[in-house]
């Protein structure tokens, strides 16, 4: 009897379980998770869940009886502590060991934390998992003054929720525009105007210098000397891939657990998928790390296929979304290395798309309140991205016809 073990009970881990059972794998399956929750959706944690519109139970991807019916041995609230890749043996934090034929690391990522004095004040919050979200939600209920460190997706989504709840919100961002890592200036400007229009105070080019906790407020002191009084400080400054066990086991890690297009690591019979990986995608020249639902799902499928002996190289087109106030941002492709931009529509009208091109090819598209354009863009990029740039900018042309150009 074969036994495959999946380490990390998140979106990628669940996808491996689902794909294995769906493709006819009938032998033993063990799913290890450090959290006490069965696999659940993370995106709603910074949106619906924080707003009280859904419950933890409704965030679970599958109910408990799914794991029973699918004969998945779930070990929750237990972390992997050591991996012996030669002996094919995993040691867990409760001291037990599990021998495997195939192992998939879907350990995800952990938030970057502040380490300065005052960082352990109870008003400092993070947002990665359900427990964080429950804690943040409870704090938010009685917090009048909310300071958010980091204008990435987590920071901006929480800012929107807090502002809609009537809180005083200040976002502090070290870069000179929001979402600088991932979007063009036009898109940054749109979101800056959106948040300011809702009454969020945005402090760009601003860094946290120190924290001074007092009973009345957590004083957030910035590098320009200004002080923000906070009842809650949400730190959203990114994540680090969870690679400790892999690294200690001698598996090659560089900005994540390094995997090829078949999700294989440098150790035999050990694969990895999702947020924890620095992976090869056949569409791109260099391996990279992507934090998204799409990547977790599509890489999870690749890992399952590899375990079943079907080598199916990862070539999915990356896509992503973010919801802030009434705005839905959809992103497809990767914009790194673009050399021109084409804007379709008028940002001030509240709905538009930005096409990132490298030479003749569209390599990425950001769509704001234009879901149909996003879906057409997914097909365009999957097909190689070549099209007539005049048709992209011309809103009289239905983007669905763009592949014909």
């Amino acid at each position: 009897m074969t036994r495959h073990v999946i380490v990390g009970a998140g979106q990628a881990g669940l996808q491996v379980v689902e794909a294995l059972r769906r493709d006819g794998y009938d032998d033993e399956l063990v799913l290890v998770g450090a959290e006490t929750w069965l696999p659940y959706q993370r995106p709603p944690l910074s949106k619906k869940f924080l707003q009280g519109e859904t419950t933890a139970e409704r965030l679970l991807f599958r109910p408990q009886d799914f794991y029973v019916k699918q004969r998945v041995d779930t070990r929750l609230g237990v972390a992997a502590s050591a991996l012996d890749t030669a002996a094919h043996r995993l040691t867990l934090s409760d001291g037990s060991t599990v021998d495997y034929d195939g192992l998939v690391l879907t350990t995800g990522a952990r938030v970057r934390r502040l380490t300065m004095p005052g960082a352990d004040d109870e008003r400092v919050c993070y947002l990665r998992g359900l427990d964080d979200a429950a804690r943040l939600k409870a704090r938010l209920e009685s917090a009048e003054r909310v300071v958010i460190l980091g204008a990435g997706f987590i920071g901006l989504e929480v800012a929107a929720v807090a502002r809609k709840a009537g809180r005083q919100v200040t976002v502090v961002e070290a870069q000179s525009r929001v979402l600088q890592r991932v979007v063009a200036p036009t898109v940054s400007s749109f979101f800056e105007a959106l948040h300011r229009g809702h009454g969020v105070e945005l402090r760009l080019d601003a860094r946290l210098a120190r924290l001074e906790p007092t009973p009345e407020a957590l004083a957030v002191v910035l590098d320009d000397g200004s002080v923000l009084a906070a009842d809650l400080l949400l730190v959203g400054i990114g994540v680090e891939p969870e690679v400790a066990v892999a690294e200690a086991a001698g598996i090659h890690c560089a900005g994540g657990i390094v995997v090829d297009e078949f999700a294989r690591t440098s150790a035999p019979d050990v694969l990895a998928a999702g947020d924890c990986t620095c992976h090869r995608n056949l569409r791109y020249p260099a391996p990279h790390r992507i934090e998204s639902v799409q990547n977790a799902v599509d890489q999870g499928k690749v890992a399952a296929a590899t375990l079943l002996g079907k080598l199916d190289g990862y070539a999915a087109v990356p896509w992503f979304w973010s919801d802030q106030y009434d705005v839905k941002l959809h992103m497809v492709g990767l914009s790194g290395g673009h050399d021109s931009l084409i804007t379709r529509g008028v940002p001030e009208a509240g709905a538009f798309s930005v096409f990132y091109r490298a030479g003749e090819r569209v390599i990425a598209v950001d769509s704001i309140n234009r879901p149909a354009e996003h879906m057409a863009a997914r097909k365009l990029i999957a097909a190689g991205g070549r099209c007539d740039p005049d048709r992209l900018a011309d809103t009289a042309v239905d983007l669905k016809t763009i592949l014909d150009s």
Binding site: Q41, P43, R58, P63, K69, W321, M375
Partner: protein
């Protein structure tokens, strides 16, 4: 408790309790209906909870809004009464709804 009957790809019927306020997709997942995958967890960002509303129910349930309509373009074999079940919120008028699971693989 309101009920929804899902007809899966093999033609088998699954009658599920779906409380008012939950999405039809959530009812399918809780009820273990095969073929409703709901990969994005109901965020209207994939198309794997796609199903066909039975003809008799189409006018009661209605059609998709703009975002769902766009997302349905990604679905396999979109038909006249296609819906993403994560976007149908259960209400008393939908009690007895019959819906056929699409090929979501």
């Amino acid at each position: 408790m309101p009920k929804v009957t899902f007809i899966d790809l093999d033609g088998a019927s699954h009658e599920c309790d779906v409380a008012n306020g939950l999405s039809v997709m959530e009812g399918a997942i809780a009820g273990g209906v095969p073929g409703i995958l709901a990969i994005c967890g109901g965020s209207c960002a994939c198309s794997t909870c796609h199903a066909y509303v039975d003809d008799a129910w189409a006018s009661v349930v209605g059609g998709p809004n703009e975002i769902e309509d766009a997302t349905l373009d990604l679905a396999n074999d979109r038909q006249a009464h296609s819906r993403l079940t994560c976007q149908i919120t259960m209400k008393p008028e939908f009690d007895g709804l019959v819906i056929r699971v699409a090929k979501n693989d």
